[in-house]
């Protein structure tokens, strides 16, 4: 469920070609709102969620349920509308029902009324998406939510991976969801000064990680859910995995709320590699966190150089946020899925619109369009959050 559409292979194709889903979105409050470059999802829950259910679900929960449906079905685990009963649900979500919070405040402050929609609380809560996945597909393992800003869903996937590897679970539905492109939330992001301004060549090229002309990130929305299954169970039922998760590392900067620190990122990547037991020299591709802010991107490049040493010069590093924007709590899940598809297809997606590389971002950042990389065997996906929480996943070709 991404700004590029719903079908994973389709989305990957479009990303491979360097197509941007960023567009100018008109503010819903013309009196004082501003039009902004955003990456919205063209979302219609269709028949997947009955009309009456939608009354009690915020957009983030709806997108998560539809994404989960696609994941369970394509894994061959959907039986009469039910998923695997013993599965765990691990969902990353930074904010929850953002538009419901806004509507509630409108009622209170604008209409001077205490008549909130009665279901406001269960719609706002960040764990609503995980609960709805569990209820909709009758999945009865733990349903956990990780709210760690931009690292939320990388952590969710990493923790699900650990639960399976450590024998607590056989299968998990893991990923993330985020929908906060409502005016009230977007205005708060604008004020933080981290959003990209419209590029003179067009709004679609406004997200420019690693480029000298980058001005910030483009806020996006979406949801991605992955089915993660133990090797034993997957092979016993003859499943064909897209890729294998082999390592997970997480760390905290203990430094600053919004300013990243290479030391913390280095620890997350190193821990992920150590966890995987794979030699850093085998990593061929990194899907970077790189959001396109002037300060953030060079810090990650520096951290990659410190982790990989001379091998950093041989690595391909790209930021697909150049095309789908920054999905915050869903970012890690979407990017982990893209990384898994890159391994499966032996092709890596580019950093689009990278025309004037920043000298401080002097690695191979795959500018413009994707690249065939048939020998790709190991890849990494990074997420580094506000609050200084870092997470890295290591994936291997299945």
């Amino acid at each position: 469920m991404t700004p590029h559409g719903q079908d994973p292979r389709d989305v990957f194709e479009r990303l491979f070609r360097g197509e941007s889903a960023v567009r100018m979105v008109r503010s819903g409050t013309p009196e004082f709102g501003s039009d902004l470059a955003l990456a919205p999802v063209d979302f219609d829950p269709g028949d997947t969620i009955p009309k009456v259910q939608r009354l009690f679900m915020a957009r983030s929960a709806q997108m998560a349920v539809v994404a989960a449906h696609g994941a369970i079905r394509s894994a061959g685990l959907l039986v009469e509308h039910r998923g695997p009963r013993d599965a765990g649900v691990y969902v990353g979500c930074a904010l929850g029902g953002a538009e419901t919070i806004q509507e509630g405040y409108r009622t209170y402050y604008d209409r001077k009324s205490r008549r909130y929609k009665p279901s406001t609380v269960p719609m706002i809560m960040a764990n609503a998406a995980a609960s709805h996945i569990s209820m909709t597909y009758e999945v009865q393992g733990p349903a956990h939510t990780y709210s760690i800003a931009c690292s939320s869903s990388t952590v969710a996937i990493g923790e699900a991976f650990r639960a399976i590897r450590d024998g607590y679970l056989e299968v998990a539905l893991a990923g993330g969801t985020e929908a906060m492109l409502n005016d009230g939330s977007v205005a708060a992001w604008e004020r933080l000064g981290v959003l990209a301004s419209e590029h003179p060549e067009g709004v679609h090229v406004s997200s420019r990680p690693f480029d000298a002309e980058r001005t910030g990130f483009v806020l996006g929305e979406g949801a991605a859910i992955l089915v993660i299954e133990s090797e034993d169970r997957a092979s016993a039922r003859g499943a064909s995995p897209v890729a294998e998760i082999v390592g997970y590392g997480s760390s905290s900067d203990a430094h600053n709320l919004i300013e990243p620190l290479a030391d913390g990122q280095v620890r997350a990547m190193r821990d992920g590699l150590l966890d995987s037991g794979i030699d850093p020299g085998e990593v061929g591709y990194i899907n970077a966190h790189a959001t396109g802010t002037p300060t953030g991107d060079p810090v990650e490049i520096d951290a990659i150089k410190r982790v990989f040493g001379a091998h950093a010069q041989r690595l391909a590093v790209s930021s697909t946020k150049s095309m789908h924007g920054h999905l915050v709590g869903a970012a890690g899940a979407v990017e982990c899925a893209i990384t898994a598809l890159a391994l499966s297809e032996g092709r890596i997606p580019p950093t689009a619109h990278l025309t004037t590389p920043d000298p401080a971002c002097d690695l191979d950042c795959v500018p413009g369009v994707g690249r065939e990389l048939p020998a790709l065997a190991v890849a990494m996906s990074n997420s580094f959050a506000f609050g200084g929480s870092n997470a890295s996943l290591v994936l291997r070709k299945a």
């Binding site: 009309k51 009456v52 009354l55 009690f56 008549r115 929609k117 009665p118 279901s119 269960p122």
Partner: protein, 81 residues
């Protein structure tokens, strides 16, 4: 029961209750309404009829009873001259 037609309509349109299940004798449980849905429904009815359900009158077993309570509350707020 002047409020009944609206009640029947909102159940069918907004809450996706099957038309043949809706009758004055139908209980809330038969209609498949859980507690959260019921609270939302009461909220809609209060908005529509400009009434407020006192706590002791916000429970009823059948649709017919619900309509009677609404009609009562509507009558009570009309000016008695």
């Amino acid at each position: 029961m002047s409020s009944y037609p609206f009640l029947a309509e909102v159940l069918a349109e907004k809450y996706d209750v099957e038309a043949q299940a809706i009758s004055p004798d139908a209980t809330m449980a038969e209609l498949g309404l859980d507690s959260l849905t019921l609270i939302e429904l009461l909220f809609d009815l209060e908005d529509e009829f400009g009434i407020e359900f006192p706590e002791e009158r916000a429970t009823f077993s059948t649709l017919g009873e619900a309509a009677a309570v609404i009609d009562d509350l509507v009558r009570a707020k009309e000016p008695t001259g």
